[in-house]
């Protein structure tokens, strides 16, 4: 029969050994392997343009003005280092007002370039907060609406912009899981490459 003292001793050694093995050895070994095998992914999937890093492929950014595709609304001002949920409830008055305002703003921005656009055509992702505040993607429907505006402002044929959308659309995982989405940063980088502003 082991006494309490002996149990405490065993427990203390176990706690320290486990902390060392699972708190240091395990994560550092994984870090080492990941840094060797997948350096780009392990460091944040950075995207470069014009010789400098302009963001991460995985983290959405704020785009304003008429020449860019816009990301989804963010409650966090697209923060990558202080994230939180918008926490808008399903019946909340604030939620109703925000959607109303976002819908009006989206139509105001895009309707001049897409005359037939009505609010029935606006996809939900365009006017609702993403969860992370930095959703890197928008839906294909959202991108196709914005394409009219971007093509007109940048003086590109609509077909060429739509081809860029298709090239920057990420499919479902293994073709089945999740939903397709258009990567906004990569799409805007591609636009800058063929039809730079200025």
């Amino acid at each position: 029969m082991r006494g309490l003292g002996k149990e405490l001793r065993t427990g203390l050694i176990a706690a320290l050994a486990i902390t060392l093995a699972f708190g240091l050895v395990y994560p550092l070994v994984v870090t080492g392997i990941a840094q060797v095998l997948f350096p780009g992914a392990a460091d944040g999937s950075k995207v470069s343009f014009d010789g400098r890093v302009v963001g991460s492929r995985l983290i959405g950014q704020e785009f304003k003005g008429k020449a860019y595709f816009h990301s989804r609304p963010s409650a966090t001002e697209y923060s990558g280092d202080a994230t939180f949920f918008a926490n808008v409830g399903p019946n909340s008055k604030e939620g109703r007002e925000e959607v109303r305002e976002n819908l009006a703003a989206y139509l105001k921005l895009n309707k001049p370039y897409d005359r037939g656009l009505t609010k029935e055509d606006v996809p939900v992702d365009a006017v609702t907060h993403s969860a992370s505040g930095v959703d890197p993607q928008i839906s294909e429907a959202n991108a196709r609406i914005q394409a009219h505006r971007v093509a007109a402002v940048r003086g590109l044929p609509l077909g060429e912009v739509e081809a860029l959308i298709a090239a920057n659309t990420e499919g479902r995982g293994l073709g089945v899981f999740g939903e397709p989405g258009v990567n906004v940063l990569e799409l805007n980088v591609a636009l800058e490459e063929i039809a730079p502003l200025k």
Binding site: F22, G23, Y26, V29, V53, V54, L174
Partner: protein
């Protein structure tokens, strides 16, 4: 909708395919047999026993000694984690120079990670160093998972024992579970995730000059290694505040399914392990079936509800139907890459198991979609549940079902040939009721006192009531997901914990609830195992109520639903169902 149901169906099929092989493997691990990893890990295991000075083969423990080792181990880890988090200012790998959080927040966090809850009043990337996350929290993700599995294994041994009082050796169980089950799967999982874009580094935060000329700071850190065990151990505490919704934790539809897979495989496979260890696979499949029915039902309800959209969206004039290039539905608080189906599935899986990781904002779920997490928690996390804890809780319900079934037909109840006597049924009833009682008392206290309502984000509305009830449901059931507006930690000056303060009531009550609702049931389970271990097994006769057929599955489902509904239905009416039935904003 068809594509959505297809992804859900394929996911469940893949999990089902793993149940037998992983179940057999874990049974061998728990029974001390050789497995294919023994040549590599055997020397490490033997070294661990020498270090701990235990001779597991000679030191079988009865339930009291098993419980004593478990409590000693847990108390020591509580103290160690508290010290690590209180001394954060001294940490290496602390690129932002974070100080410690207020003491009451630390109390909550330590209790949370020790109990496999991972309720988070803090935001990882704005309050914690890489050291604290890695050496403090991620270690608990392994340890708390191993403790849950160990308790289950002890209960199974008690049920399977032909004589004697030994439930095995706690130190051996912990060692083998950590080495042979959790570590290898976590390593593979971490590398798969890292290959897909989950970050894994010790660099400082990246300052980016964005394409449009702005500035964006990106949090970094050893995320993949923590992410893998976060899901595998049904822990759920995110490295980042927005958890598995944040792309550095969950970058694609593929990683999302990997994370859900890692969440479910151990709880699902343990039912097979159980069948094997008691010598009847049919018993294991019966329990599995009851769990699967509830999980699939919850998934379908959540998916349909979320696809419908919310009253606020419809009142604003938004159309939430599907169209070419968009799935429609309630995308508020959801990510495009997951869409409605993979968000609803994740929601059901993470709350049926006691994981609590989220890939979408629960506070923004529709009323009825939100009722799914409420129900899953209301059923006391027995729908696969936490690793180990889900099945040991479900086995208590199985014994309860046998008892009630026995009363109905007027026979002495037996489970697996063991007579269920007065002592056993008292212990089982306590084990089943302690968590729901804790929820009702703590949520009532928090909803009715000014100290409790300080934590509300949505004020005195059904939404605010949902926040409160869910906070204590989640903490008592060791889940950890949240209606995230509910807070116990205020950071007025932003970064570094400077000027931050906790809401002491929420932090202390929550911490005590988590500890009580974790360890009291564990003690009742071990006591039940001890009481059953010494019982003789009587051969099944014509009058024996079978516990491996569909009739028993229905009975078990009935008992689980009855206990959950009787306890929580009135409370859930006031929150999510009131919201689901209302078309008015408030």
């Amino acid at each position: 909708m068809v594509q959505g149901y297809l992804q859900i169906a394929i996911f469940f099929a893949v999990v089902l395919a793993v149940v037998k092989p992983l179940g057999v493997y874990m049974a061998k691990v728990f029974q001390g047999e050789r497995v294919f990893l023994s040549p590599v890990l055997g020397p490490v295991e033997r070294g661990a026993y020498r270090l701990l000075r235990v001779r597991p083969d000679e030191e079988g423990q009865d339930w009291k000694r098993y419980a004593k080792s478990l409590v000693v181990f847990s108390v020591l880890f509580w103290v160690l984690l508290y010290l690590i988090l209180r001394t954060q200012g001294l940490d290496p790998w602390n690129p932002r120079g974070f100080h410690s959080a207020p003491w009451d927040v630390t109390f909550n966090t330590v209790s949370s990670f020790l109990t496999n809850t991972n309720w988070q009043y803090y935001g990882g990337e704005v309050t914690l160093s890489y050291f604290a996350q890695m050496v403090g929290l991620a270690v608990q993700n392994f340890v708390s998972a191993a403790v849950g599995i160990a308790v289950l294994v002890a209960l199974i041994r008690g049920l399977a024992a032909r004589s004697g009082s030994s439930l095995g050796n706690f130190w051996q169980d912990i060692t083998r579970i950590l080495l042979y089950v959790l570590l290898p799967i976590a390593v593979i999982g971490a590398l798969v995730l890292a290959s897909q874009g989950v970050i894994q580094n010790l660099s400082g935060y990246s300052v980016i000059h964005t394409l449009a000329g702005g500035t964006q700071v990106l949090g970094q850190g050893p995320v993949a290694s923590q992410e893998a065990i976060k899901v595998l151990g049904t822990n759920g505490g995110g490295f980042f505040n927005t958890n598995s919704a944040f792309p550095f934790e969950n970058p694609s539809g593929f990683t999302n399914v990997v994370e859900m897979f890692l969440i479910l495989i151990i709880p699902a496979s343990l039912t097979y392990t159980y069948g094997r260890m008691i010598g009847s696979q049919r018993q294991g499949w019966a329990i599995f079936s009851a769990m699967a029915v509830l999980l699939i039902a919850g998934t379908v309800v959540a998916y349909a509800a979320e696809q419908h959209g919310t009253p606020a969206q419809h009142l604003a004039g938004l159309h939430t139907h599907a169209m070419a290039g968009s799935t429609g539905g309630n995308m508020e608080g959801k990510e495009q890459r997951f869409g409605i189906a993979s968000s609803a599935l994740f929601t059901a899986v993470t709350t049926a198991t006691s994981t609590g990781a989220v890939n979408n904002a629960f506070e923004s779920l529709t009323g009825i979609g939100g009722a799914v997490p409420f129900s899953n928690l209301g059923f006391s996390e027995v729908i696969f549940g936490g690793v180990g804890s889900g099945l040991y809780s479900m086995l208590l319900y199985a014994i309860l079902a046998v008892f009630i079934g026995g009363l109905m037909v007027g026979r002495t109840p037996e489970y697996l040939g063991k007579k269920i006597g007065a002592r056993e049924i008292k212990l089982v009833a306590l084990g089943v009721l302690v968590t729901p009682l804790t929820v009702l008392l703590s949520a009532g206290l928090a909803a009715a006192t000014p100290a409790g309502t300080r934590s509300l984000a949505a004020g005195f509305t059904p939404q605010g009531f949902s926040e409160t009830l869910y906070a204590y449901l989640s903490q008592a059931n060791n889940n950890g997901s949240a209606w995230a507006g509910y807070t116990g930690f205020i950071q007025p000056h932003g970064l570094g914990n400077v000027g931050a303060y906790g809401i002491t009531f929420a932090n202390l009550l929550g911490g005590l609830v988590m500890i009580g609702a974790r360890f009291l049931p564990i003690l009742f389970v071990l006591a039940t195992a001890g009481a059953l271990a010494g019982k003789k097994v009587s051969p099944a006769g014509l009058g024996t109520m079978r516990t491996d057929n569909p009739t028993f599955v229905f009975l078990l489902l009935g008992i689980v639903i009855l206990v959950g509904a009787l306890t929580f239905f009135p409370a859930i009416l006031l929150g999510p169902i009131a919201q689901g039935l209302s078309t008015r904003p408030f």
